[in-house]
Amino acid sequence: MANGTLAATLENYLEYKSKKGIFAWILSTDHKRIGILYLVAMVTFFWVGVTLGFLMKLEMLTPGKTIVDAQTYNTFFTLHGVIMIFLFIIPGIPAVFGNFFLPIQIGARDVAFPRLNLLSWYLYIIGGLFAIISLFLQGGPIDTGWTFYVPYSIRTTTNVILPLLGAFILGFSSILTGLNFITTVHRLRAPGMTFFRMPLFVWALYATAWIQVVATPVVGITIVLVIIERLLHVGIFDPALGGDPLLFQHLFWIYSHPAVYIMILPAMGVVSEIIPTFAKRTIFGYKVIAFSSLAIALIGYFVWAHHMFTSGMSDTSRMVFSLLTFLVAVPSGVKVFNWVATLYKGSIELRAPLIYVMMFIFLFSIGGLTGLVLGSLATDIHVTDTYFVVAHFHYVMFGGTAVILFAALHYWFPKMFGKMYNEKLAIWATPLIFIGFNMLYFTMFILGYLGMPRRYWSYLPEYQTLHIISTVGSWILVAGLMLMFGNLIYSLFKGKPAEANPWGGVTLEWQVPSPPPVENFEEIPVVNHGPYDFSTINENKDGKS
């Protein structure tokens, strides 16, 4: 694995110009460039989603109208959901960091199908454009909520078909990326890189890819059925036409619940990368963490109907799905305990990425445990469709996936761009994000428990104090996010050059220069030990000093 130094002489992927101008990017089949293309598009969509969320919270500052009317509020929460879910969190970590680092971490030059990889990005952009174009057409922006529940989505006069087609196309992007990753892991591992020598990020991506391939077609066909029903009035889901609305909910959640694991599993993989690097010791329970990813992917398929406890499905079904839901807590708990055990007695270096990871463990644990409240039939009935659900979801998805996306950005930024960021600023942003986040969302747990329904434009005056705290929290959170992104963007242009291995990591991406050369490795490395073997690094250091 010492060939990284030889590769330093090769041209890096940012400077290499196969074509002129923007075409060198949008026609590139280099997995690293495609990862950056996703990053740029996703961060753009993320800020659109943040702006909508910010405006929603501003509207909730007072009962009744504050800045927008009720119909506009409906479109705001729908678009916030659609953009954040389909354009930001689902592609999220796999599309950016998976594309960039999966091939490097297994010692490959690229993914198995580079052209298909670029096609996935184009499908992602086209799907996103469909959703955006629908905003400006006659009928107005979609107002169904991101779940597109029938019969409302069949009867509403707003533009439903175009954003649905957008989600359909995005689904293809997701399937193709999953297919690419599965093939890459099976076919392109370097000599000696056995399955149990793969970094845990790769394991997480592998488990995620399977969900993408097996679950996404279900939502694709469901979307087609809704479009057929809207256009041709065939009775599939609408009870007025002889359809079954619960069938839609089953089909939608058969995909959308596993999709939650598409969002969180890669984040868990990133955590398993960052913790060993900054604890300077091998991960506790490598195989158990690897298998827990597969277990989460597997059990994640069988819990979908816990989204439907109050929908009127059978009691038998409710009991079965409640039981299955509790099983998911086991592999998730395994991961959290193993991460904490890895930190125990490690030589912890408290750098920015690790601080984000610690924030994640705290927030994700709250999100996970409140999930058990929702998984129990009795308590779910009390808090269903209230702010409690909104809070739980944001603790898991924002406190979980998005915070880890930030952690990954800070961890791999030096490798991706060859620049260092201002670490003091990166660390200062974390208390702002943490305090803002908890003010914004923890109050929602209380509001929900007190009976504040989700998606309501107005509320009773007794809820106002908590709403004000929540809205002020959104301001602090946005300030923290601006500081964090501002720091990274400034560092892109003005940052100091990064070393090949600024954190002392031991996985393969730290053996190549920053930024990596076009083909990653001059010679494909031969791997002869596990991914988190710090003994060799320490021995080398001792030897040199």
Binding site: V214, Y301, D315
Partner: protein, 95 residues
Amino acid sequence: MEKEHKEHFIPYGTYILVWLSLISLTVLTVTIAGIDFGRFSLFIALLIAAVKSTFVINYFMHIKFDDLIFKVFLLVALVTLASIFILTSTDIFFR
């Protein structure tokens, strides 16, 4: 990783036999659609469809002659689908 891919040639006769079987099974599906089997009609139609897809997957898609790993992949998809059917039935049949 660098295993040579085993080439396996299937005689044209086999392909034609499979094709004829598929045609016959389609004719069978259409024929029994006219007979009233009550609640079993759907299961019979699905059973024939399953047999047909087994032919297609094994011969036209070469799974029969491929590595074990591809059979495992197929099994994962089938088990997932079966589980989804079984779990959905806990709602449909007990509602």
